[in-house]
Amino acid sequence: MSVPADPQHGVPFGVDVRRDGPVTTVTPEGEVDLATAAELEAAVGEMPSGGRCVVDLRRLAFMDSAGLRAIMRLDLRGREEGWALVVVPGDGMVRRLLEVSRVGDRVTVVDAPEDVE
């Protein structure tokens, strides 16, 4: 499923979700903003206790504070439900946004999904 994140610039938002045992990998592309952050959050779905959710942000063209809030909410949810959140920020503006917000102090941040222990 995909919706245009910003019709003006025609970058479609979409989320790819892969479930492999206890590991769910969520890969959004396009732009995460107020219009699409809820969709990113909802894409995580049911998570097993002890599981791991990898949010791979490397294909994003843009993410704003609404996307950051989605990450914070997923962190809170994971702690409550007993699963781990891992974020792959890639380079560029998404990484800078996560650095400014010190997301790495709280959430496991890796360079690639394979890097997760």
């Binding site: 610039h9 704003d64 950051l68 914070m72 909410r73 400014v100 917000s101 102090d105």
Partner: protein, 421 residues
């Protein structure tokens, strides 16, 4: 012009009010009404059919089939007589009818002989005018034809009612929107300082632009003297918009103000703010994430020192006198309201004459121009261009940047600018 009293009903004042309410006088020709007059002329086999509205001293034609004049005086107009009746008013041979034989339209050049007019009766019982058919030959109108004329008049009224209700709905929508905007503005103003403090040796200016004037935005700024010789400069962004965001903004703003009275360390202020935002989060079911930049400004030597701490907020931009390019301040920490382990640290910057500092929210740096973001570079460019124009000049230029038709702003935007004189 006085109108013959015999042609005026007892409820004339109310009737004229109804004519005004439907707001149809002197409006342009309209296909819906023209179709009805064309249909009436064809059905009855007459050359002329008119939708008339009887005004105080004239009869104005909303639709006229087969005649060029747009209005006539009320006195000679047969429609003025027709609206005094509940049923179609019919003159089969006007030249022989004592009601009309002296009428100038009958006796004069126009040569009217046949007239049948059905009143346009509104839901509340006022006859606005008529749908009439006219011929220059005498004619008869069967009871069936009279009913058809009434039905066509009812179609005209339905159309008028439809337009009135559409106009009323739009007007009500505008009223609601205006009321929402007024409420949002009042609430917004209560969350922003009424005026900025006077800082000897520096000037301060700020702007705030909500993404939607009908909704309270989630951005806020504040500037106040904590004590003589120490000022707080604050900017922040709470999650969401509207009244819930306003409640969180109020909590953040007042917590920052209160904490600032107790400590000279902006990192302490953010620690207190973080605890306040986390307190009772579950009970209130309110998301209370907030990014904020808190700075304390004090005189130092011939300039100032600005101690800043940030909770996940876009870095303040500092343009040094004579320097090309603004540098972001290094303060950073997580947004408040997320977790209790948050650590904040303050950084101090010496500011001297000619230095400019811009605190901003991401609505400004993430506004779009062309295919890309404005970014901090665009803000830095404004600082460089306007550095000699003081804080007011910088703010005016930032505000103008967002007003540019080529720039689309998708979120609330705010900036607080300090220029050292």
């Amino acid at each position: 012009m006085a109108v013959d009293a015999a042609l005026v009903g007892e409820d004339e004042a109310e009737r004229l009010a109804a004519v005004r309410r439907y707001d149809v006088l002197d409006t342009p020709p309209d296909g819906a009404f023209d179709r009805v007059t064309a249909l009436a002329a064809r059905h009855f086999g007459v050359p002329i059919s008119i939708v008339s509205i009887v005004d105080s001293d004239r009869i104005w034609f909303k639709s006229r089939h087969g005649v060029d004049v747009e209005e006539i005086g009320r006195d000679p107009g047969l429609c003025a007589s027709a609206i005094l009746h509940e049923r179609p008013w019919i003159v089969e041979d006007a030249a022989a009818d004592p009601r009309t034989l002296a009428n100038p339209l009958v006796a004069g050049e126009f040569g009217l002989r046949f007239y049948a007019g059905a009143p346009l009766k509104t839901q509340d019982g006022f006859n606005l005018g008529t749908l009439c058919v006219i011929d220059r030959e005498p004619r008869e109108l069967s009871p069936d034809d009279a009913r058809t004329l009434e039905d066509l008049a009812a179609i005209v009224v339905d159309e008028l009612e439809l337009r009135l209700s559409a106009r009323t709905a739009v007007a009500r929508e505008h009223e609601l929107r205006d009321a929402a905007e007024r409420t949002a503005r009042v609430l917004q103003e209560s969350l922003l300082p009424a005026e900025l403090p006077v800082v000897p040796g520096a000037d301060l200016a700020a702007f705030y632009r909500p993404a939607d004037r009908g909704v309270v935005g989630g951005d806020f700024y504040d500037a106040f003297a904590v004590e003589p010789g120490r000022w707080a400069l604050v900017i922040g962004d709470v999650s969401g918009k509207g009244t819930r965001a306003a409640a969180v903004t109020a909590l953040a703003r007042h917590t920052i103000r209160t904490a600032s009275l107790e400590t000279g360390d902006p990192a302490d202020v953010l620690r207190v703010l973080n605890r306040a935002m986390l307190l009772g989060r579950d009970e209130a079911e309110l998301e209370r994430f907030c990014t904020a930049h808190v700075g304390f400004l004090e005189p130092s030597g011939s300039g100032f020192v600005l101690r800043s701490a940030s909770a996940g907020h876009p870095a303040a931009l500092v343009l040094r006198r004579g320097a090309a390019g603004a540098e972001p301040s290094a303060a950073s920490g997580p947004p408040v309201g997320w977790h209790a382990d948050a650590r904040f640290t303050a950084v101090a910057q010496e500011l001297s004459s000619g230095d400019v500092v811009a605190l901003h929210t991401d609505g400004l740096s993430e506004a779009r121009r062309g295919g890309g973001l404005l970014g901090e570079d665009a803000i830095g460019a404004v600082l460089e261009r306007m550095r000699d124009a003081g804080a007011e000049g910088v703010v005016a230029e930032l505000s103008a940047l967002l007003a540019d038709p080529g720039v689309s702003v998708r979120d609330d935007a705010a900036a607080l600018v300090l220029a050292v004189r």
